[in-house]
């Protein structure tokens, strides 16, 4: 345990003593088992040292022991708020490595699933963010809507949270006959609910006071720190892999990339990051609607290879997950299981910025900033 604290040494000539406060691993608002070591001066943060790895589940080791299809359930368990996205990324990477062309219908369904997942993931982000700041009701409202999305997934593949749905080359099931109708219904219901959450939370004066001008992240710093996804867009940088490095069939849809505008504070503050997510949900709804309209017919399992045995080589592919660029780096040695898989988890990279963002703010702001980065520990620790 000796190394556990790196802040034990305090310089004696400091006028104000530094206090080291632990947040986590068990803490209501660290979104899981994250431990933050806060060096405080009064209530001002001098330094935040995140300690991660409390959920290190050895994903990469497992990959080396599994065959390619068996990895899919494990990818689910990384970013457990957006398993569809993880599977999607894995499928994209593997298909690139294998050089498979999958049927149109598969791609459309994948997009629909990924976008629904984005909504559900952002709903959790919104909800927990509200809960961090003390508003518990929006949290539950978000969960009500999320539950509807989970029901959609459940009728499709039978699982609520971890789907094992998107396989290399195809899907495990075709859509359920009710799916399209139910999805349309959901989107119709969802829009007013989103507005309600906006009224209740996003534009609430107290919420704005807590989040605007807190944790400002300039663009160049963000890029240098590898921050991606809504966090990067919150800083006002239009960067979305769905447009900038298109994969699957995203080029066929018409949607906007919302960026932070500094509505209530400076560009790149927590409120912007938060609000980008709200706007993204609307865009996702649009994508889902378009995809449902254009959905082609076809067989979803025709392209699934009987035995996956890629040639020797490496591949790096990335997709836009709800939390940012999710990258898979796969090295194949020609056998049925990969030689090495490395995942570039978006939260893992974004988390590094925490110390920079929190410096000079107060204890309460750490929670706000952490919430606005929207991390998932399963993905950070893998």
């Amino acid at each position: 345990m000796s190394q556990d604290s790196i802040l034990n040494t305090k310089s004696s000539n400091l006028k104000t003593e530094e206090m080291v406060l632990n947040m986590g691993p068990q803490h209501p608002s660290t979104h899981g088992v994250l431990r933050l070591e806060l060096a405080l001066e009064g209530e001002i943060i001098n330094k935040v040292t995140p300690h991660i790895g409390y959920l290190h589940r050895c994903f990469e080791k497992h990959c080396e022991a599994m065959t390619y299809p068996q990895i899919v359930p494990y990818t689910d368990r990384m970013d457990y708020l957006a398993p569809m996205g993880n599977e999607f990324g894995y499928a994209v990477a593997m298909e690139k490595l294998l050089g498979i062309q999958v049927p149109e219908r598969v791609e459309y369904i994948r997009v629909i699933m990924a976008e629904l997942q984005r909504i559900s993931s952002h709903l959790v982000a919104l909800g927990t963010y509200g809960a961090d700041i003390g508003a518990f009701t929006p949290f539950l409202f978000c969960f009500i809507d999320r539950e509807k999305i989970l029901n959609l997934f459940e009728i499709t593949c039978g699982a609520r949270l971890l789907y094992n749905y998107i396989w290399v080359g195809g899907l495990s099931h075709d859509l359920h006959p009710d799916f399209i109708r139910k999805t349309r219904e959901f989107i119709k219901e969802f829009r007013p609910n989103l507005k309600e959450i906006n009224d209740l939370l996003s534009h609430n004066r107290i919420f704005i006071d807590r989040t605007a001008n807190v944790g400002i992240l300039p663009i160049d710093t963000a890029i240098n720190y590898g921050v991606s996804g809504p966090n990067l867009r919150g800083s006002g940088f239009k960067w979305d892999l769905r447009k900038d490095d298109p994969y699957s069939v995203y080029h066929k849809f018409d949607f906007n990339i919302p960026v932070g505008e500094g509505t209530y504070g400076s560009v790149g503050d927590s409120w912007d990051r938060y609000y980008v997510r709200v706007l993204e949900m609307e865009e996702s709804c649009r994508i889902v609607e378009q995809a449902l309209d254009q959905l082609p017919e076809g067989d979803v399992q025709s392209a699934i290879p009987k035995r996956i045995k890629p040639a020797v080589g490496t591949v790096y592919a990335r997709v836009e997950n709800p939390r940012g660029d999710l990258g898979y780096f796969i090295i194949s040695d020609g056998s049925t299981s990969p030689y090495r898989v490395k995942v570039r988890a978006p939260s893992f990279v974004s988390m590094q910025i925490l110390n920079e963002l929190c410096k000079g703010y107060m204890v309460a702001d750490v929670v706000t900033i952490l919430g606005s980065i929207d991390i998932v520990l399963g993905e950070i620790d893998r």
């Binding site: 190394q3 790196i6 991660i52 921050v227 890629p310 790096y316 660029d325 780096f329």
Partner: protein
């Protein structure tokens, strides 16, 4: 938007002394082999050269290659402006795995490097804070992602294997 060959050429021109090599026999993307101790300078150039502007370190992964007695590090770089990408690979001796850190170039590499250290034991020179990151700080059973890793029987009195 630049092809890997052009980037390679540019690098060759600017670093005549370095040993650079472009492996194009890959099924997906070519890999640029570089030397482990010069990678930081190379990366700085890649980031700052106005024709390249690789401002985005997409990924950094360590790989154990016990057959050739090497530990390698792959860098996946991208540019948000030109949207080109490149993959770099450096290799180092498995017994004395030392690679120059690129944290000064991309802060994003900080934790990636710590992770590579933690799981594979690659030592990144000049890294500001090279500690274990995922495994417990007092884990002394080696580097789990190495192919020859053996799990210990007990950790702090808890049985580890099933």
């Amino acid at each position: 938007m630049k092809k890997a060959e052009e980037i390679f050429q540019l690098l060759k021109d600017n670093f005549p002394a370095s040993s650079l090599e472009l492996k194009t026999d890959q099924p997906t993307e070519p890999i640029l082999l570089a030397s482990a101790l010069e990678i930081d300078k190379l990366c700085l150039f890649l980031r700052d050269s106005s024709e390249l502007l690789f401002d985005d370190l997409m990924n950094l992964s360590g790989v154990d290659e016990p057959k050739s007695g090497l530990l390698s590090v792959y860098y996946h770089l991208g540019s948000t402006k030109f949207k080109h990408k490149i993959t770099l690979k450096v290799s180092t001796d498995r017994n004395k795995p030392e690679v120059s850190s690129v944290t000064e170039v991309w802060k994003a590499s900080d934790w990636h490097e710590r992770e590579a250290y933690d799981l594979l034991g690659i030592i990144f020179l000049n890294h500001p804070d090279l500690r274990r990151i995922l495994m417990p700080y007092d884990w002394d059973a080696g580097y789990p992602l190495r192919k020859d890793y053996e799990n210990p029987e007990f950790y702090q009195g808890m049985k580890v294997p099933y």
